[in-house]
């Protein structure tokens, strides 16, 4: 009879533990420890909770370290991105930006990261690229993708595999510099036919805010066409062209140079956004781990106190049974 009372007491103490638990796995493990008690082991085990606490603490340390690494990488690359911002401004001042230009061959260049754990920036870039693709496909128009970075490739290959012309990964293996991007731009220009290039990237505003942006670079033929049509580019004719043999040669060089400058800036900005997004993702992750650790600590204490109480009850009921 004493055993039955003990079992009932044990169940009564263990029951509140189970109901307060938000984590399913832990609930099942506490019930399994209760089963152990029924089978013959007396104390409720705190081992399970302790293991879980250890793993959560390790995760917290790892994410904190990743945040520090991302912060230092961000510092290094942020100054370079800000310095490169002046590169594309003169081009826009001269040629204007016409994202709504109507051309037959669009090429959408999506810039993304190679590594994960950087929040939602790659998904937004892919969503915007898909949006641009939808905007620019019609009876006579077509759009193709050129992808920089693994993450966008993984997402776009799922539904637009045929439309991917070129995909380039491991961009950040060596520190980014203009020569590398110029070679890349040369590659793209040689292999892909285009009337308009739309570069989609995340512009770095601050450590917590990244704006998805799209820059448009037109091919020299389209520039000539738009110049005749008027608008901002109409003023282009008033500029005297010096150097080179013909106007079209200089315009072609201009468009290629513009593309490499804009691409350089875009790649740097995206790298900054990636590090910033990773910083904030890892920061929220370590904060969540900290919250989880607090909850687990409470559970651990309750489990520990419950097992002590159980032991005391055993001793006391044993003693009282002996007395009389």
């Amino acid at each position: 009879m004493a055993m039955a009372t003990l079992r009932r007491e044990g169940k009564r103490i263990a029951a509140p533990l189970i109901s307060h638990h938000p984590d399913n796995p832990l609930r099942s493990s506490v019930t399994s420890s209760e089963e152990h008690e029924v089978l013959g082991v007396r104390s409720i085990s705190t081992q399970v909770v302790r293991n879980r606490m250890k793993s959560v603490r390790n995760i917290q340390k790892i994410t904190k370290a990743m945040k520090m690494v991302a912060a230092s990488k961000l510092r290094a690359i942020q100054t370079r991105a800000e310095n490169s911002r002046g590169l594309w401004q003169p081009f826009i001042a001269l040629l204007g930006d016409t994202p709504s230009v109507d051309v037959k061959k669009n090429v959408i260049i999506t810039i993304s990261s190679d590594k994960g754990l950087c929040g939602g920036i790659n998904s937004t870039a892919v969503k915007i690229s898909r949006g641009l693709h939808k905007l620019n496909s019609g009876p006579e128009k077509e759009s193709k993708y050129v992808i920089l970075g693994e993450k966008a490739k993984a997402q776009l290959v799922r539904d637009s595999k045929k439309e991917i012309e070129l995909s380039i990964t491991e961009l950040q293996k060596n520190p980014l510099n203009y020569t590398q991007v110029a070679v890349l731009a040369d590659d793209i220009l040689k292999n892909v036919e285009f009337d308009a290039l739309r570069i989609v990237y995340n512009k770095f505003h601050s450590v917590v805010s990244f704006m998805p942006t799209t820059s448009t670079v037109l091919s020299p033929e389209v520039v000539e066409r738009e110049a005749e049509a008027g608008g901002k580019l109409g003023e282009l004719d008033s500029y005297e062209i010096e150097g080179g043999e013909t106007k079209s040669e200089v315009l072609q060089n201009l468009s290629e140079f513009q593309f490499s400058c804009v691409l350089f800036n875009a790649v740097l900005e995206n790298a900054c956004s990636e590090q910033g997004a990773r910083m904030s993702a890892m920061d929220s992750s370590s904060r969540n781990a900290g919250d989880m650790l607090d909850r687990l600590t409470l559970t651990y204490n309750r489990t520990r106190q419950a097992s002590i109480t159980t032991e005391l009850i055993e001793i006391i009921s044993g003693a009282s049974a002996l007395e009389g």
Binding site: G86, W88, L94, L135, Y178, M211, L254
Partner: protein, 198 residues
Amino acid sequence: MLRRATTRILSHRRHCSTAEALKVTAADDLFMAAWKRTMPNLDPPKTPLSFLQPRPSTASAASIPSKMTINLVSSCSSGLSNKQAHMVIVPATTGQMGILPGHVASISELKPGLLSIYEGNEVTKYFISSGFAFVHSNSVADIIAAEAVPIEQVDPSSVQKGLAEFTQKLSTASTDLEKAEAQIGLDVLSALNSSLSG
């Protein structure tokens, strides 16, 4: 009454600048409208127009200003911005070109060479590794270069070494591509050499 006053002030602003601002926003609006039609649930992406730093209008001024405004940008740094100068000499592909205030609007391709900016009595020299120079009709000049280094930071001994190296490469080059690469290296280094001395 206040509204009327502000509209009077706004209408006094130069016609050209408002027209330009209108043209700028019109391009964006077309894009925004098209985006909203096809993708109502997603925010449209920003375009560089929203990040453009304000610039003086490129419509020609009534009179020629006394000084030019120079912006020099390169891939490593925005070298100069809104620097006032009397004259600037750029190494265009057609030769050294001098630009004074009131120069006709032009786009010129640059070859590797020395860029000198004359401000009163002082001269600032930069070595440019090719790029473009835009001169706008309001005497604002934009010089965009892949690399722009102040001439003081160039080391003469390494220039000589590089010259020797590329001359040797040119003589041993077999394919057209190698020849072209060696020739480019030689061009840049000889320009660097002459700008160091000249």
